[in-house]
Symmetry: C2
DNA sequence: CCCGATTGAGTTGTGCACAATTGAATTGTG
DNA sequence: CACAATTCAATTGTGCACAACTCAATCGGG
C-alpha cells in the first residue's frame, strides 16, 4: 500500500524507472493543484471587488479585528514584509486600507480599514458559501479536510 | 456544524462582524498554507539538486516518459506556456533538459532529458519519503487526503 | 546612560502563476 | 488549392512568495 507521498513501491512492470518519484501519487502535488484551483475559482468573484486572493486574505484579517500591525498580519497569514509591503501599498491605492506609523513605536506601521474597506465586507459575505457549493464535498469532508491540512501544516513547519 | 468554507454560522457573541468571512474556518486558506508549507519543506532538499518545486514537478513528468511536448507538460501540471517557457529555459541552462523543434510539426517543441537530467532522478529518489516522514500523518490519512484533494480539484475545475 | 543586539518595515532580485497578445505553422472547409 | 480558423510556443505585464539586505527605532546589559 502506498503511503501517499509518491514513493513507487509496487510499481507496474512497465514503469520507466523503478524508483523515480511518481507525480500521481504525491500529496504535495495534489495540494499544489487544489490550492491553485481554489484560487482560480475565487478569481471571478474577487475580480468584482478588485481584489486578488492574497489581498482578500488580508482584508479578512482586518474585518475580524482592526487596526493590525504589518507584523501581526504576517503572523496570521504566514507572510513576511517582503510580500505584505507591496500588497498593502496596492490595497492602499485601491482605497481599502490606510497605513499609519505608530506613535508609540515608530518602527510599527498600523493598517486601518477605510470606510470603503469596511463596506467591502458586506459584498464579500457570500463568497465562502459559493466556493463551498463549487467544491462538491460534504460539510463533514470539508471539516475533516481542513483539520487534516492544519495538522499537516503544523508538522511540516515544526520540522525545520 | 460548520461546513468548512468560512461561513460564520454559530459565531461567538463577541465576533466583530456577524457575517464576515472567518479566516480560520476556510478550507481554502488551509490548502494555501499547507501547499506553501510543503514547498518550504521541499526547498532544502531541492536546493541540493538546484531545482525549485515547479522545476522538480517538470522533471518528474520527464522521468516518467520522455521526450514530452511543452503542451503535454502543461496538461500534466495544469500550467500554461507563459509559466513553462521561462521555466524550461532555466532547466535548459542548468543542463537538465534540451528543447528541440519537432521536425514533423514545426509549432511543437519537444523537451528531452540530458544525461545529467536523467541521472538526477537517482538523487531525487529519497525526497518523497523524507517529505512523508515530515508530514506527521499516517499512510491512510495521506492516501485519503490525496483522494479528497483530487475530487475537490476536479469539482472546482468543472465549475467554470 | 551608552552602545551593541534586536525588532520592524521596506527594498531588491529571482522565480513562479496567469491573463493577454503575438506570430508562425498547421488544419479544415469550401 | 486557397484561406480563414485553429494550434502552439513564446513574450509582456502584473502580482504574489521568499531570500537577502538596508536602515531606523527600540531594547537591554553593563
Amino acid at each position: 500500500m502506498g503511503y501517499g507521498f509518491g514513493v513507487a513501491n509496487n510499481v507496474p512492470p512497465d514503469a520507466p524507472r523503478l524508483d523515480a518519484p511518481r507525480l500521481d501519487r504525491q500529496v504535495c502535488f495534489a495540494m499544489y493543484s487544489a490550492s491553485r484551483a481554489a484560487t482560480a475559482a475565487y478569481r471571478p468573484m474577487l475580480d468584482e471587488l478588485g481584489l486578488t486572493y492574497p489581498q482578500y486574505l488580508v482584508m479578512m484579517v482586518l474585518w475580524e479585528d482592526q487596526p493590525r500591525g504589518v507584523r501581526e498580519l504576517g503572523e496570521e497569514l504566514g507572510l513576511d514584509s517582503g510580500t505584505l509591503s507591496p500588497l498593502l501599498k496596492r490595497l492602499e491605492s485601491l482605497g481599502y486600507v490606510e497605513r499609519r506609523r505608530s506613535a508609540a513605536d515608530e518602527r510599527r506601521v498600523e493598517v486601518f480599514l477605510t470606510e470603503s474597506g469596511t463596506a467591502l465586507s458586506a459584498r464579500a459575505t457570500g463568497i465562502p458559501q459559493r466556493l463551498a457549493d463549487a467544491a462538491g464535498l460534504s460539510a463533514m469532508e470539508l471539516d475533516q479536510l481542513r483539520e487534516t491540512l492544519g495538522r499537516l501544516t503544523a508538522a511540516l513547519q515544526a520540522g525545520r
